[in-house]
Amino acid sequence: MMQDRISPALSVPSAAPPTGLASRRDVLKASAAAGGLLLSFSLPGLAKAAAMAQAPEGGTALTAYVRIAPDDTVTILSKNPEIGQGIKTMLPMLIAEELDVDWSQVRTEQAPLDPALYERQFAGGSMATPLNWEPMRKVGAAARQMLVAAARRGWDVPESECETASGRVRHLPSGRSLSYGALAAQAATLPVPDLDSVKLKDPRDFKIIGHSIPGVDSPLVVKGHPLFGIDTVVPGMLYAVFQKCPVFGGKVVDANLDVIRKLPGVRHAFVVKGGTALNGLLPGVAIVADSWWRAEKARGKLAVTWDEGATRQQSSAGFAREAAELGKKAPAHRLRDDGNVAAALKGAARVVEAAYAYPFLAHAALEPMNCTAHVRGDKVEIWAPTQNPEPGRTLVAQTLGLDEKNITVHMTRCGGGFGRRLANDYMVEAAWVAKVAGAPVKLVWNRTDDLQHDFYRPAGWHFLKGGLDAEGRLVAWQQHFVSFGENGNFASSAGLASDAYPAGRVPNLSYGASLMQLGVPTGPLRAPGDNALAFVFQSFIDELAHAAGKDPLKFQLELLGQSELLPGRGAGFDTGRARAVLEKVREVSGWGTRSLPARTGLGVAFYYSHLGYFAEVVEASAAADGQVTVHKVWAVGDIGSQIINPTAALNMVQGGILDGLGAALNQKITIEKGRVVEANFDGFAPLRMSQAAPVEVHFLTTNHPPTGLGEPPLPPSIPALCNALFAATGRRIRELPIDSALLKT
């Protein structure tokens, strides 16, 4: 029974986009679309084109996505928020390709939040490519078809005699041509073609897709233009800080508001009662001042008596002790049982036993959480760096008791997201504070707020046994995952899918889980679930390879076996695609062919994450004092038939891999007495340039739908590093972050 209850929740962390923070329905919808229902993807934006055709600025609107000006400038709207993943460049590239314009004609613009026109608008789960690869090209092709129809009408010629290129329609027999700018007004009066009827280009004819297009906003970024949420200015705006209880779920008993109100520049100081949902408006004290610095300075004098509540009893050390106890027992919940693990372990020629653990992690986007809000009567205007504006608007509507229709959310550029801005707690805080203050308010968190009030990557503990037969084949796998959750449901991003590899490839395999209660909010961090599980699975497989006396890469290939589609995300886990990236990384890294210096080693790992396949080899060494140096990373990815924007793809792969290495080398969030200890970048350290190794990237092009790159490169980087350190030192890293003391000579 428990298996039935727990299984659906298991798929959630891997389903990613708005995991745990949006409705389950959204997740299923996104997953279904990725699974091959793209043709049924509706494009209400096209249906409403006629209504939008009168758009006053920037020329004539053909659809909700495309405007064309008389000077042939084409403005293409990007529906999703930009968090650094390059979406504001990539989505318009898809449209521009099929519209058949030159990229030099194109300007791109952030679309407003309007799901009725644009469907779900979010940045998460590496979903933008699989969800939009075909629909956005159809958007472009439909607009092109309207322009061709307008030209044909004027010329009274058949479609077969017309062609398009570089933003012009040409009539081939007569040589006449008209620019899109001259045709747009007429085209906008024509019906939007049925999307299933539009013809898409042969990929061999692509002129934009597959070519490197630099980030569209980069020329403004390098000059310091105000693009980010934190740069928002609204006339008459005040500035706010919001102090919540350091212990999660704590409430305000009393605060010295009389003292605070007298401080220079302070306009308002008040208690926000808030609620109990950790992803909603929480209790705290708001200070509103005529400058952010004065609000922040006043916070230094703030004295609050808190009712800290039950979470005060929780700590990382306590969880580790409890997990160790639970790990000795049988799992409370069975997730999967294949064959007879107990018998297989008993009969194994060699049994390997290991316990793995990883800590809580924060997102630490460099732009601190912030939001600007203006409440006027029953209307709210919000400027927010958010990955997930729609649930944010719902949260504001519900918390302030207003109609969603009266809430406008402007999506600003985000200074990083990594999953943090899928939650909209800071949005509802800004709206509430602005409402009470009766003025537009910009709320800005400081770094301590950010690190101590996150939705953390949950910590986890895994107790494993593996059995090898006399030929060194993996015949038994037993895994007890001690995680967090309640009532048989994993906490957000704290799950383990019953079909996680190597399930399906080990004849006797069991996955089980025991759940501890947690008062600390958790949520998706880049490659949710996989960013932790890859470390456990791919490290333990490496251990077993060494125990079997086999080359780890060869052992991995043998375990993957023949090409087969196993149950898994999207269309499933394709063992053949996994083999292919492993074989390619063996070749490009010179695996097994190079002699390395002492205490230097190569490690390999692969993972299927968010529809992408990546295999990575890390070359790393440990100094006599245990200090780790990563010398180089080779990465081979298979994300399908097309790399849409190669320069951005390469940047994303390199960044994702270094992000993983940074987490493995440097990062943990420590809970003590129900609160986070780390308060700034000295305690919680993202990777710096001195730790950034070169990352060589290769892509395999395969006949599968293209998919995204935000997450897939990250998971294998961590076990590849740990496996390299084993090769270098003979010491096995079973706990993150890497403790260099374990690697000393």
Binding site: K223, G224, A365, C414, R447, Q654, F681, P686, M689, P694
Partner: protein
Amino acid sequence: MRYTLKVNGRTHAVDVDSDTPLLWVLRDSLDLKGTKFGCGAALCGACTIHLDGAPVRSCVVPIAAVGKSAVTTIEGIGSTPIGARLQKAWLAVDVVQCGYCQAGQIMSAAALLARNKAPDDADIVAAMDGNLCRCATYMRIRDAIKQAAKDEFGSAAAQKKA
């Protein structure tokens, strides 16, 4: 307190508390939003500006300590030959992911190139290690700095020939 500040060649008068960090004076008094807030403790480098050409973290420099020093920010660095070359190289290499740290990166790089026309990898790391890039665009930052440095040599060589 009233202070007179010279920023990017222009003189501004501001009236702020004496302990107000230069970062917030730039951002909120002068509306120069290019200089970014990341940590408030000189740990991330997002707020890097130049005081008389030297790179400093403006989040920990109180306005009272600025005195007569000339302040240069990302909005002004493009008017210098080094700044212009760096901005050009940043675009040519397509460094930016989220972009939030890049103003600080460019300011640190500009200070580096002003004192070292041909930095090697170690020089670059030494100058740039205080600037976090959470997207980890470090490989491209390194490449862009080298490209900007090469541009300089290129033009110097051309001048010698002429």
